[in-house]
């Protein structure tokens, strides 16, 4: 029973730390320079994309390359509805549009496994991008759209709120029946089905939940770019970044993807400003090293260090 009180004490400490971090983040725009606020907003964007990607792809092992599709749907919802509806409603619509798209796509494609699913989701991004470009050029007769401007501080707070809600959602899914079902699907999908798990429903619902947050993020982030077209909105980079960031941070723990995405985004920013010519090269090297030597990501490495002494005592070859 000592262990359980120890863990509850430890979780109380980590909960208070998280609370303090969030309070600091909430009052940050009051004293921090504008640049920091904008940089943090970018970090939140990637953190939200990564954490919501991990909700589905982490436990199930289905590598989805669709984030750019759901993110882009959010962006376009904002571009189309932004001028006629108030911001909170636009964000809700963006999230719901992505949610519905994910339900539809999920129901059609989640029977595909492994590499086929990854390729399909990647194809989805390309398909939507080209379809949208075609429609814009032939029906509305324009290539891109202007998005209404929103104050940077508001964008910051909206992203902070989405981040907080996402963390809670992710935490509860991990601890719930749904989380266990998702894990069982990742471990052995056939056995999960024969143990009574409605695998199709579990997968589709979770896929849609993860798309919901990506859509909301797209809807609010669109306001920062003022002009968007199908190529910027459905940029495949938004599909690959969450995957890389999740691997970099480690998917085993809730905070792995958060830390991975935060460090990654910051690193990108620093490298881009300090070494504008070599930044891609350095970035690539860091990534290769991370994938080769950190199979559990940064969090995995930290855990290995912490458990190091313990593992040596109970070495079991």
């Amino acid at each position: 029973m000592d262990i359980s009180t120890l863990t509850s004490k430890r979780s109380l400490i980590s909960e208070s730390i998280i609370l303090i971090i969030f309070i600091l983040l909430a009052i940050l725009p009051l004293y921090a320079p504008r640049y920091t606020v904008i940089l943090l907003t970018s970090i939140f964007m990637y953190v939200v994309l990564t954490v919501s990607w991990v909700i589905f792809s982490g436990p199930t092992g289905y590598i989805s390359l669709a984030p750019a599709a759901f993110f882009g749907v959010g962006i376009y919802t904002s571009a189309i509805l932004g001028k006629i509806l108030p911001l909170p409603i636009v964000i809700c619509f963006g999230a719901l549009a992505s949610f519905c798209l994910a339900l539809l796509v999920g129901a059609l494609t989640l029977r595909l496994r492994g590499i086929y699913f990854a390729i399909f989701t990647f194809g989805l991004v390309e398909f939507i991008r080209h379809l949208l470009l075609f429609l814009e050029l032939t029906v509305t007769g324009r290539r891109g759209r202007l998005v209404i401007l929103v104050d940077q501080t508001i964008v910051y707070y909206v992203m902070l709120a989405i981040f907080a809600i996402l963390l809670l959602t992710s935490y509860f899914i991990r601890r719930s029946k749904l989380g266990l079902a998702l894990q069982s699907i990742g471990q052995n999908e056939d056995a999960a089905a024969h143990t009574g798990v409605n695998v199709t429903m579990v997968k589709v619902i979770t896929f849609a939940i993860s798309a919901f947050f990506m859509g909301a993020t797209g809807a609010i982030m669109a306001t920062r770019w003022t002009y968007i077209d199908p190529y910027t909105a459905f940029n495949p980079l938004y599909s690959f970044m969450p995957v890389l960031m999740a691997i970099f941070g480690g998917m085993g723990q809730l905070f792995g993807p958060v830390i991975g995405a935060a460090i990654f985004t910051y690193l990108e920013e620093v490298l881009l400003t300090r070494f504008p010519y070599y930044y891609m090269l350095i970035f690539g090297i860091i990534l290769v090293v991370a994938i080769l030597y950190l199979p559990g990501g940064l969090v995995g490495l930290a855990q290995k260090w912490r458990k190091g002494d313990l593992a040596e005592q109970h070495a079991n070859p």
């Binding site: 471990q187 056939d190 056995a191 024969h194 009574g196």
Partner: protein, 241 residues
């Protein structure tokens, strides 16, 4: 009373009839064995019952209700649980979580978490794995992984349990324990339909045996009848000329 019944069950893989026009029935409270040479279609028949595969024709009824055409999780919730020839466990999930999944998702009515936890503990206790409940399932020995599969199946509160080669790969001592476990499960009131290659084991505990060969049922009867059946002897030992 009949619990499971198949009529004209047929399954093709391409042009090959893996199961062709097989009729079978299992009565409540029985232990029925399913035997046959390799490739006879035994596991295919189990896959058809548990809805891992769909039938080409015929139908399967469980407690009088048609179950062919349902999805695997629906068949499980209806009360038919199974284990697998090559163990399919959730390797990185602790032993307890493996069984808890069965109790949470596999029962007909669904369970609240405290009930599911209790059910999972009882199942683990029943198969004798409660001491290993925190171990990741992949770290168990093969014999214990097979027990874990049984515990997971039992946690779904089945009325019929399909055991696919429970004994294959076990040493003699483990075999004896596994056979005792099967009898214990039957004594709980659960009907058992089992595939097995180890003849000594199956002859000693089955009430009735069904023999498949090339996807067709060639014999059915008590162990004594099967051992003296001429067709069965020919299939296993070859024709004497």
């Amino acid at each position: 009373m009949r619990i499971l019944e198949g009529k004209g069950v047929t399954k093709y893989f391409g042009g090959l009839a893996a199961i062709s026009n097989v009729d079978f029935e299992v009565d409540r409270g029985e232990i029925v064995g399913l035997i046959g040479p390799n490739g006879a279609g035994k596991t295919t028949l189990f896959n058809l019952i548990s809805a891992a595969l769909s039938l080409n024709s015929g139908e399967i009824r469980f407690k009088g209700e048609k179950i062919s055409g349902l999805k695997p999780h629906q068949v499980c919730r209806a009360g038919v649980a199974r284990t697998f020839q090559s163990v399919k466990i959730f390797g990185n999930i602790p032993v307890f979580g493996n069984v808890l999944l069965g109790a949470l998702f596999g029962t007909s009515t669904g369970m609240s978490s405290p009930d599911a936890t209790r059910e999972a503990m009882e199942s683990l206790e029943f198969v004798g794995l409660s001491a290993a409940r925190a171990t990741p399932a992949k770290d168990l020995t093969l014999a214990n992984q097979k027990r874990l599969e049984v515990a997971r199946a039992l946690a779904t509160k089945p009325e019929l349990l399909l055991l696919d080669e429970l004994i294959a790969g076990l040493n003699p001592a483990e075999t004896t324990e596994a056979m005792e476990l099967v009898t214990k499960i039957r004594d709980k009131g659960i009907t058992i339909f089992m595939i097995e290659h180890v003849m000594k084991a199956i002859m000693s505990i089955c009430d009735r045996i069904i023999v498949l060969h090339h996807g067709e049922k060639i014999a059915e009867g008590t162990p004594q009848e099967i051992t003296s059946n001429q067709t069965v002897i020919e299939v296993y030992l070859g024709k004497s000329s």
